[in-house]
């Protein structure tokens, strides 16, 4: 009996170890990366990043340098018509706003804001500048914003770039605390954003 239990514990241990390893955050080495967020988004990273194992949504991928509370790059890869940006905790009673195939560029930051607000994860959010940009050779929108997350009350700044291709939304955002962190890594984010391809 005892050896059987020990054997079981060992087996569980090994399985758990493997499970943990499979779920660990992974290194993004310098160089080209394709298939970001399970989509045709690709980027070229000059330095190292960390890719979080956590899944915020089916076509969402998060990279960070020091932890997503301190610097957070979110990739939204080809969110289709009728789909929300992030995973919906309660589809029926608290649905999130959806991507629309007819949306204008200016509707992209509005969608991000409404998504965050209806999830209740921000206390305050304001879209700042909006200007034309290029993403993957296509016309896109670049926008800035400020937000305060309800969870930690830290005041943050954000910058994003997004476009629609064949009615699907591609969006990349960078968020970090306004004190020190946003400025610290903004150039690294902008380098990534400039290298984006579809």
């Amino acid at each position: 009996m005892k050896t059987k239990r020990v054997a079981t514990l060992i087996a569980v241990s090994v399985a758990a170890n493997a499970a943990i390893a499979a779920h660990a955050n992974s290194l993004v080495a310098p160089g080209a990366h394709t298939g970001i967020a399970n989509s045709k988004l690709s980027a070229n990273s000059q330095g190292e990043w960390n890719r979080l194992s956590r899944v915020d949504g089916k076509n969402v991928e998060v990279w960070t340098l020091d932890g997503d509370a301190l610097n957070k790059v979110s990739f939204y890869g080809g969110i289709a018509n009728g789909m929300p940006l992030l995973r919906e905790p309660d589809k029926k009673r608290h649905p999130l706003p959806k991507v629309s195939g007819t949306m204008l560029m200016t509707d992209i930051p509005a969608l991000l804001e409404t998504t965050y607000r209806s999830l209740g994860i921000v206390n305050q959010m304001e879209i700042g500048e909006q200007s034309p940009a290029i993403l993957g050779g296509r016309k896109a929108i670049r926008f800035t914003y400020t937000l305060t997350r309800a969870a930690d009350q830290v005041r943050r700044k954000g910058e994003g770039i997004g476009t629609l291709v064949d009615g699907k939304l591609y969006l990349v955002t960078y968020e970090a605390p306004a004190l020190h962190f946003f400025d610290k890594d903004i150039e690294r984010y902008r380098q990534l954003a400039a290298s984006l391809a579809l």
């Binding site: 999130l96 204008l104 804001e113 607000r117 209806s118 206390n123 034309p132 929108i141 309800a150």
Partner: protein, 391 residues
Amino acid sequence: MRWSGIVAACCAALTLTPPSFASAPSALPPYTPAYEPTTVDERGMWMEADERERLLRDSPLRIREGGLERYVREVLCREVGDDRCKGVRVYVMEIPAFNASMMANGCMEVWSGLLLRARSEAELAAVLGHEFGHFELRHTLMGFKAKRSATDVMAWVDVLGGITNRDMSSANVSLVGSLYRFNRAQETEADLLGFKYMAASGYPAKAASEVWQQRMAEDDATALGRGLKPRRNYTSGFFDTHPTDLKRAEYLAKAAAALPADGDARVEQYRAAIAPYLSRMLAAQIKMNDFGGTDFILNSLASSGGWSGELLFARAELYRTRGNPRDLQMASLWYRDAKAAGYVAPELDRNLGLALLRNGQTEDARKSLGAYLVARPEAPDAKMIQALLAK
């Protein structure tokens, strides 16, 4: 209380005999304001409340400007009397949900979502008085325990639903969400006491019933807007602190009918006090992705004061945000109506232009967007609007 227990209690509540309001409410008992915490739990509540009050006082969400907090406190004092409201501190927080709560240490917190939804001073007073009733009856001390099981369930949902956000019921007091949840008997007691305040206040007593009816009607509208069946449950979220039901609104209405019908709801004074904050409250409400509920609120505001330029603009915004082809058509109409009704901000031209553009009416869109750019050449989105025109 376990989760299944909460559900059972709600269902049981529907079959409870309503309290007897047959005779006019007796006079208010004398008020003893000084109350020192005695037990260990009570001291705990005070300390937690003091800490939370400090956070509220310093919070960036607090609406400090314009005397709004002073006004809300005046309404409370008119409702419960000066003896009772002496020493109460009122904080108004810019949070787009219907809520008011009072803590064991005499600190009252009111959310802007409540101010958007109340249709008169009397309705606001009814809610504030009800919360004060919980405080006078010391329910705030007992409610804390009931909250626990709701958050247990929520935590599992968070994990298994894979929500990405941090667990918001964190160790430090969170500004979003209330601390208290009361059981059916406590809600009834607070209703009873609230009724006594109302009878002595000069406000019409029927406001107490009307505010809950309005809440239910809005919940119904929200549900319908989401393709759900209305009248399933009347909480606006499972963890709402104001569970409301048909029976309750009914007995409050019946009790009010037994009292003389006079009283001044002070609708005009209320509208005037809220007016400086209305557009920002409407803008925040529109961003909550609740089409049915927001449409209901707009219609309700319009039914008492008419479709002002501001309300027409908000309605257009709501429809443009949803963005179906017919919505965009309606939005364009209402932007134009808003302009005719006196809404002059250039942002209207921009949003009208965006609605037209999205709906394929490019030539008309150009005119509106062009007008915006002439009025606001340095706007933060001017370059983007120009780019849209250049297509």
